[in-house]
Symmetry: C2
Subunit: 453 residues, 2 copies
């Protein structure tokens, strides 16, 4: 892509960005003063601050605080247009992106393309788990999880049968990465602190929280020492941690795991949260096919060291959908790859050569409960209160928008220093949406069953 | 109901409260130190601060800020149990209330009953309007309205046809009482201020906001002077006010009104909000039948001057479902009648005689836009900035929960002094729920049509 290419169109170089998570947003921002026209296309109207999604799921933050409107975040970027639509086709030959909004298709041409649609929940071949175990990838997921968790306590309070009551008060979290650990910790906080004095029949503090992972460690990404320490901390809080435990089956009120020794075990648990796995957006398959390659085993698109699609230097695949070396799917990688793609486009317009992405590892962190966090920054490991303070500072700093920073800080004061959870509303729409989704999925399963019996 | 009656049961006098709006909540609170066992049954898990619902619908407040969990609000009331279930039957002969939770029925006996289920949106015989004109009675309504309003701007931004774009940017509010006036004012604020710089194709400030009312005045309840002044203020803001205009038809993109002179007019308008009318909960019909009476024309239950059902001194009907003299359906009436019912129950236990409800009119107020409000307190009329400050003070004072007061004040600073709206998230569940509801209603209409062709 050269200046000559750019001049092909009527005007300026056209950049299309698919998806406005951390990768897409940082790419759009890095193009602020560039002589390009940017179109950001996202399925939703909001940029999602995914690392705090579990806090919406447990009633600490409201949806607006972690999901500001994309066009508001980018309002000062006069060269950016935002379109809320679902991208269905990327034609790297014709250099167009087709997107659908309320059934109406539109084709958007590009000179450079940045693909950053992220991932969605993967149930590892058990798609039927979706109806019982809610994933945690979108605002809808978080509100649905919140509704189910709060509702489980409501149902338990009314339940005369003690066994069924215990089942309703058992919460299973599948996956012991940061999201799973944070969810398990926050459900414990909710049951032990926030809901105190709220019930008359049940004791919410009697709720069981189970954390399962097929792997041998909690927070594997943070190294052995932090994993072991986090496991001890979770146990002390009351979370029952089951490692080497692959979930092989579930239904409305139970969950079955296979253990390494060939035996299996079934737990009665009504509410289940799936934080075990993700797979790349389905757009990845189109891109991999177009470049003559295949997806990696996580459903990601292998790219060159400058984040471009092999054979298509004008197409960048960034963030969680990008397979580059051993870079993990995390916010920091998405931000840096997004910025790199944007800078590469600008450099090319200036006739400068491409450079590879040099990822600077700024560390990882997670909270276990209030006042207790872990952080891995290069060789340094921080745990306990120090880890928590660092987590707090980093998340407040990175949260999108000054207003959201102030209001998240206020909410955290309320829920960590105080006792309450401000956001506990169960909506009727959730129940209706759940029914609609279940009906649709059942129909889809039936249709699939019909095709390949 | 005497001490002897109370002793019938195994223990203390049992009070059941149906519905936990202002009436139910104030009744439960007033029973705090009374020697009674209270059961509060509500369809939802939250107490709704309805006067601020329009602020959730326009992205200023989050749902948790005006809808705290009932059991959290009442957690210090050790004699109160809360049950989230839908009351289906009140048997005043057997003195029981039947409620359903997730398909499971339960019957709760009472010695005294306080019925406070409120009202729901009435489309004045045009039930088919429900699919196009969203009411404003519940958190779900408000989130749905928010999603539709924000989405209309998104659709307009992508729309190539200028006529259709204008239709998408036209918002019709039906009903010029406080809710309608406040909605119209806030949609104007949203389009003129909050969304500024957010769009590239459309100018959000070009949005049209239409306000319709079948009656001759805006805010009829506040008197002629305030009505006229509010109408002028709304016009100056950009709201097109149409009085004496009864809505006779609508579809997805238009709305037809009949004018007093026999003519009719059709407006192209995609988004419609219905703030025109309410009707009493369907429980009212059971109660009226049980007392050998009928509902009034607003679907409310006529009661004695002590808020009890004729012939059933142990049954109180309070709040918006109560028809007593010319008391209107407003928060203040609900609070005072709830408190009165509770105090009457306590007085009876002490062997004291019943007293009639003496309603003290503390006035009414509404906001037109930021920094501009109206208040009618006895003979005093306040308008403009003074009216707005009074509105602010009163609403902050009455909002349930200290934390919600602080956080609402912060949000108001953001949206009135600043420019932004913090809560603009459109969820996918809303779309799914809308489809589910539409499908169900279509099926119901078809079924009704089949029965009476």
């Amino acid at each position: 892509v050269t200046r000559a290419d750019a001049a092909r169109g009527a005007g300026r170089h056209r950049v299309v960005i698919v998806g406005c998570g951390f990768g897409g947003l940082f790419a759009a921002r890095a193009l602020k003063r560039a002589p390009v026209d940017v179109t950001v296309i996202d399925r939703t109207n909001h940029h999602l601050f995914q690392p705090l999604l579990y806090q919406v799921a447990t009633g600490i933050l409201s949806e607006g605080e972690i999901a500001p409107a994309i066009r508001d975040v980018l309002r000062r970027h006069r060269n950016v247009r935002v379109r809320m639509a679902e991208v269905t086709t990327i034609d790297v030959g014709a250099r167009t992106v087709t997107s659908v909004q309320r059934g109406e298709e539109r084709t958007t041409p590009y000179d450079s393309l940045i693909v950053a649609p992220g991932t969605h929940t993967s149930y590892f071949g058990h798609d039927e788990f979706a109806q019982w175990a809610i994933g945690l990838k979108s605002i809808d997921d978080a509100l649905e999880a919140r509704g189910r968790i709060i509702e489980a306590f409501e149902l338990a309070e009314s339940e005369p049968d003690p066994d069924r009551r215990a089942t309703l008060l058992t919460f299973a979290v599948i996956g012991a990465g940061p999201t799973g650990v944070e969810m398990a910790g926050q459900i414990i906080e909710l049951s032990r602190r926030a809901l105190r004095h709220n019930f008359r029949t049940i004791d919410p503090a009697a709720a069981r929280v189970l954390l399962f992972d097929a792997g041998p460690a909690v927070l594997p990404f943070f190294g052995e020492r932090i994993g072991a320490k986090t496991e001890r901390n979770l146990s002390r809080l009351g979370v029952e941690v089951h490692l080497g435990a692959a979930v092989t089956g579930m239904d409305e009120d139970s969950l079955t795991i296979a253990l390494g020794d060939g035996t299996s075990e079934t737990f009665a648990a009504h509410t289940k949260v799936w934080a075990a796995g993700v797979t790349g957006s389905s757009l990845g398959r189109q891109l991999a096919a177009a470049s003559g390659g295949t997806l990696d085993r996580l459903g990601r698109v292998p790219v060159q060291d400058d984040c471009t699609l092999p054979g298509h230097p004008e197409v960048f695949v960034i963030g969680d959908l990008m397979a580059l070396g051993d870079l993990p799917g995390m916010a920091e990688v998405a931000m840096q790859s997004g910025r790199h793609a944007a800078r590469t486009i600008v450099a090319r317009l200036d006739g400068k050569p491409d450079t590879p992405l040099h990822y600077r590892d700024l560390g990882s962190m997670a909270t276990i409960s209030r006042f207790s966090g872990v952080a891995a920054i290069g060789p340094v490991r921080l745990t306990g209160f120090v880890g928590w303070v660092l987590w707090l500072v980093v998340h407040i700093t990175f949260l999108t928008g000054f207003k959201n920073r102030v209001s998240a800080l206020a909410r955290w004061t309320i829920s960590f220093v105080g006792r309450g959870r401000s956001e506990r509303t169960i909506t009727v729409q959730q129940v209706l949406a759940r029914q609609a989704v279940a009906a649709r999925e059942a129909a889809e399963r039936a249709a699939r069953g019909g095709q390949s019996p």
